[in-house]
């Protein structure tokens, strides 16, 4: 469904992603795991197209030059040069890290804003589905999103991506800064989303422990380079991964 080949991203003279290739088949749950500064967010921005936007902005103000090589194909179509909004229309939706929501709008309004591309009836349906997925959100319906806790905001952020009815969902560090119990809730929700809505999901995460058991396939990157790949079970058994990400 998504295929990334030989992705090469430079921020000025620093290389952020070096010859990174990966593949996601429809209906699979794939993780890209790496520590800080490994290039996870750059990868997500490249796939979702935000980097194309950043690049033109930086060129205009004479700032950092971003160099991009490689190819991103989605459903057999080359989308490397498309703008982020065009990619969303094709069903490729990103949930950015640190749960960006609209703090001044209430929870339901946030979901409605995200459902801009969909029909009213669909929006109503999906809001119900989001509440089914995250029951805690139901009673916070009219609360201003800025007053929600970090975990609740993360749920709203994921809910907002669901409103678009994506074919492929990109989750950038969904567990960042959450308590273990909240992490478990979210991981359960991800599994549920995949089973019930038939979504294809790509997760990036530096905290591998809760993610590895649920994924079909994982890629481990370090300093922008692919160091290891394998199914979830394979990665869990590998001594390097154990040492680096489980602290065993």
């Amino acid at each position: 469904m998504l295929e990334v080949t030989n992705l090469l991203v430079f921020y000025e003279n620093a290389v952020a992603l070096n010859d990174f290739s990966m593949k996601v088949d429809a209906g699979r749950l794939v993780a890209v795991i790496g520590s800080n500064s490994a290039g996870k967010t750059t990868f997500m921005n490249t796939v979702s197209g935000l980097i194309v936007h950043t690049r033109t902005k930086e060129i205009r103000k004479g700032g950092e030059r971003i160099t991009l090589y490689g190819q991103v194909t989605f459903n057999g179509e080359d989308i490397t040069a498309l703008q982020p909004n065009e990619r969303v229309e094709k069903g490729l939706v990103l949930c950015r890290e640190r749960h960006p929501i609209f703090p001044e709008s209430d929870l339901v309004e946030n979901l409605k804003i995200a459902g801009y591309l969909r029909k009213r009836s669909e929006v109503r349906e999906t809001i119900d589905y989001v509440f089914h997925l995250f029951p805690t959100l139901e009673r916070l319906k009219t609360r201003k999103a800025g007053f929600l806790s970090g975990g609740e905001q993360q749920m709203v952020a994921i809910g907002m991506t669901l409103m678009v009815k994506p074919l492929l969902l990109l989750l950038d560090e969904p567990l960042l800064g959450l308590s273990p119990i909240m992490q478990k809730t979210l991981v359960d929700a991800v599994v549920k989303m995949r089973e019930e809505a038939g979504l294809t999901i790509v997760i990036t995460e530096q905290f591998a422990r809760p993610i590895l058991p649920i994924i079909d396939f994982g890629y481990i990157i370090e300093n922008g380079m692919l160091t290891m790949q394998g199914t979830g079970a394979e990665l869990m058994d590998s001594p390097e991964v154990k040492a680096a990400y489980f602290g065993v």
Binding site: N6, F10, E12, N13, N18, R60, K61, G62, G63, R65
Partner: protein, 337 residues
């Protein structure tokens, strides 16, 4: 077949690295590399009055005044206060010197420095109630204040009302007149640039970057902002006081919108946050506006179009662009992947 992939690399010139870090200048070339950027404008500004005809000397004076106002705008913009009312500072200084001259009969060498300090103080006091406002709210208040004061003067006939105060003493001769403003301009330029790299300047810059982090460090940001307002207000007031003595007149036009908008345009065209950019912008825009007087009715249109072209083509500002080209070069390198 492997396709050769290339990217454009941007790196510092060798001479910059050598003269930056090691600071053991070993050749004339390196010394010139370090010395030319600061010395060139100094020489240019000091020599220009000697060669320019009288009319263009007056233009230079006006350009220097707008450059000072632009620097004062740039300074408070660096502290996170985007002002649309440099005319407030300008008018405060102008009226203070007018009053000191006309009612108290102070000599010129006393009235200008006094007006500089008092005007800066009054401006800071006037803006003190809105110091907690940020962004567009602060801008709106600063935009309205000078226009309001203008109307107050008109309505109450304060300090001559619509007539203004005439017969203010002029400078002893035109050389004092020109060189006073140029020397102050250079002092402000290098002083501000030095100030912003000192610890004090770092705190001010931090206030605009993240004021909450500055508060968390135990610094009273409102006190810092008030100090910044006083400094910027003093610079603006000096401009007002100086031009009042040049024109030998002070009146309601001292609060005109021109003194708010042109400095802002200069700073934006020249490049924000560098002060040198503000000077450069004013030195381009003011003579440009004068040169266009010959065009007649379409003057403002051409002026506005050139402003738009500058801002669209070089949003970073002229100074930033030149600085980058001076310190860095670009070349195509093969991508190693």
């Amino acid at each position: 077949m492997v396709v050769k992939r290339k990217r454009k690399e941007r790196i510092d010139r060798g001479i910059k690295a050598r003269s930056d870090d090691i600071f053991a200048l070993t050749s004339f070339r390196e010394m010139l590399y370090v010395a030319v950027p600061p010395v060139l404008p100094v020489l240019l500004l000091l020599v220009l009055p000697l060669v320019l005809p009288l009319y263009w000397k007056k233009v230079l004076i006006s350009a220097a005044v707008f450059a000072l106002l632009a620097m004062s705008w740039d300074f408070i913009a660096a502290v996170g206060m985007v002002s649309l009312g440099q005319a407030l500072f300008f008018g405060m200084g102008a009226y203070t010197t007018g009053v000191l001259d006309h009612y108290a009969g102070l000599p010129i060498w006393l009235s200008i420095p006094l007006a500089t300090v008092i005007g800066g103080f009054l401006s800071a006091i006037l803006l003190l109630p809105v110091i907690r406002l940020r962004g567009v709210y602060f801008s709106m208040v600063t935009l309205v204040l000078p226009l309001m004061i203008e109307r107050i003067i008109e309505a109450t006939a304060l300090f001559g009302g619509t007539e203004g105060i005439t017969g203010i003493q002029s400078f002893p001769n035109q050389w004092v007149e020109v060189y006073l403003v140029l020397v102050v301009l250079l002092l402000c330029l290098f002083g501000f640039r030095r100030l912003m790299t000192s610890d004090y300047g770092l705190v001010l810059k931090a206030v605009s970057d993240n004021d909450r982090a500055v508060m968390s460090a135990g610094i009273n940001i409102y006190w810092s902002k008030a100090q910044a307002l006083f400094i910027a207000g003093s610079v603006g007031s000096f401009c007002g006081a100086y031009l009042t003595h040049v024109y030998m007149f002070v009146g309601m036009p001292a609060f005109a919108l021109d003194y708010s908008i042109l400095p802002l345009a200069s700073a934006v065209v020249g490049g924000m946050g560098t002060f040198a950019g503000s000077v450069m912008g004013a030195m381009i825009l003011v003579p440009l506006s004068e040169a266009l007087r010959g065009v007649g009715g379409l003057r403002t249109v051409i002026y506005a179009i050139s402003l738009v072209v500058f801002i669209v083509a070089l949003p970073e500002g002229i100074f930033h662009y030149i600085q980058r080209k001076y310190h860095q070069f670009e070349r195509w390198v093969e991508v190693e992947g």
